[in-house]
């Protein structure tokens, strides 16, 4: 580029800074700017002056109603997003419950067994989203911990201490009115309820004692009517497969 051409460009920096270049010239000037340090420096020198222009206008007080309208729209947006998220959560739960009801079609309630499955491995495939893993082994005392992240976001941990256990859940929603949480232990095809029902605290944490973990393939949790039931009435929303108990 010759000196005259460069000077011509330099004359356009102020117009560019003010947003006053003609539309047809803008792309061309931007391209030039990328490789021209002198024009870049000139633009940087002008920048504070351009930034000062809006600050220099006579200050007006916006009407309070403007803020009210704006915040109403903002809060409505937040509420709409929360509603969408909740609807999505419900859809996921409904979808997982539907699958369980179909599966319950062949349930043998009298014998407290779930026959149609080829072992609890199938339960794991249907319910558990995370990969269970042994978190720790308590050295001298025989403590075994298994934690599984569920598809619904709940984190479930089973602590096995010499065959006695505790199930700990985090991220659990409050059960529906008149409902409680009920834990189940699965051994082969047999599923038995854990004695005590339980409910989550305000922070979504819940735990229950499991008297006997010997031979248990998986610990399950369902939502049941207060007092608990003898057989689960819904698909477990928590499934912790155990190994070697």
């Amino acid at each position: 580029m010759n000196a005259n051409e460069h000077d011509r460009r330099l004359e356009e920096v102020a117009a560019f800074a003010l947003g006053a270049l003609d539309a047809a010239q803008i792309d061309d000037f931007r391209e030039h700017l990328k490789g021209c340090k002198r024009c870049q420096d000139e633009l940087r020198w002008f920048a504070p002056a351009v930034r000062a222009l809006p600050e220099a206008v006579e200050q007006q007080t916006p009407p309070p109603a403007l803020k009210v309208r704006l915040m109403e729209e903002v809060r409505a947006d937040v509420a709409a997003e929360a509603k969408l998220a909740e609807a999505e959560k419900r859809r996921e739960r409904a979808s997982s419950r539907k699958g369980f009801r179909e599966w319950l079609g062949g349930l043998d309630i009298g014998g407290l067994t779930w026959k149609p499955l080829a072992g609890m491995a199938a339960v794991v495939l249907i319910v558990a989203a995370g990969v269970g893993y042994v978190v720790g082994n308590g050295g001298g005392s025989n403590i075994h911990t298994t934690e599984v992240q569920q598809k619904n976001g709940i984190v479930a941990m089973v602590v096995d201490e010499d065959g006695q256990g505790e199930l700990r859940l985090t991220g659990v929603d409050q059960p529906a009115n008149g409902k409680v949480l009920e834990a189940w232990v699965a051994r082969g095809e047999s599923v038995e309820p854990v004695k005590a029902t339980f409910t989550p605290d305000e922070a979504g944490n819940a735990s229950t004692h499991i008297e006997d973990l010997h031979g248990v393939d998986a610990v399950l949790v369902t939502e049941e009517p207060a007092g608990g039931t003898k057989v689960p009435t819904m698909e477990p929303f928590v499934n912790v497969p155990l190994e070697g108990t």
Binding site: A14, L21, P54, P62
Partner: protein
């Protein structure tokens, strides 16, 4: 992310508020509006010359910020100048749309204008807060023909060719007046810093 409380939000710097706004925190947004809504409204009113139009402009501009707060890039400038450039672009677009002209403004120009390290912005921010009167004075002391082209360009959204046509002067004259006018304002700012 747990919602930020109003008192805590008030203690945050603008740049620290933006991540909360990006996470859709209404308290953070309210504080942001309290800080910049007045300057934005004043600018919109200066450009549009009508209170209802200025209110519509601010509503649109701030909602666009609410919905795109994550787009703020602190390496490109201060929150305030970013906000005012959004308000200005909205207002000019509204002006041009009212006049039946296709909007020509883009955010890229502001990005180039702001393209320097964040630390360098301190000067401009201190200036904008403390010497607005001086800048007003500097603009008012510009020769009429220089302040006119700057006002038509910045507050009217007119291109240099359009201004040349409106004022019936050669294009080179408009370029020269813009340059001289900006240089004087810049010089005044530099003096204020000394």
């Amino acid at each position: 992310m747990t919602p930020v409380r109003r008192e805590k939000a008030e203690r945050l710097a603008d740049e620290e508020l933006m991540p909360w706004i990006a996470k859709k925190d209404p308290e953070a947004f309210e504080v942001f509006y309290d800080r910049h809504g007045g300057a934005g409204y004043s600018l919109a009113y200066r450009i549009l010359g009508d209170r209802t139009a200025a209110e519509d402009c601010i509503q649109e501009a701030f909602i666009s910020i609410w919905k795109s707060g994550a787009r703020f890039d602190r390496t490109r400038g201060s929150v305030r100048s970013w906000t005012l450039s959004i308000v200005r672009n909205r207002a000019i677009d509204a002006l041009r749309s009212k006049a039946g002209k296709a909007p020509k403004l883009t955010f890229d120009d502001d990005a180039i204008l702001e393209s320097r390290a964040a630390a360098e912005h301190t000067e401009a921010e201190v200036l904008s807060a403390e010497t607005a009167d001086e800048v007003r004075g500097a603009i008012s002391q510009l020769p009429g023909e220089q302040s006119k082209v700057i006002e038509l360009a910045y507050f009217g959204g007119f291109s240099q060719s359009e201004i040349a046509g409106m004022l019936n002067v050669p294009l080179g004259t408009v370029k020269g007046r813009m340059r001289l006018g900006l240089e004087k304002i810049r010089g005044e700012l530099a003096e204020g810093m000394a």
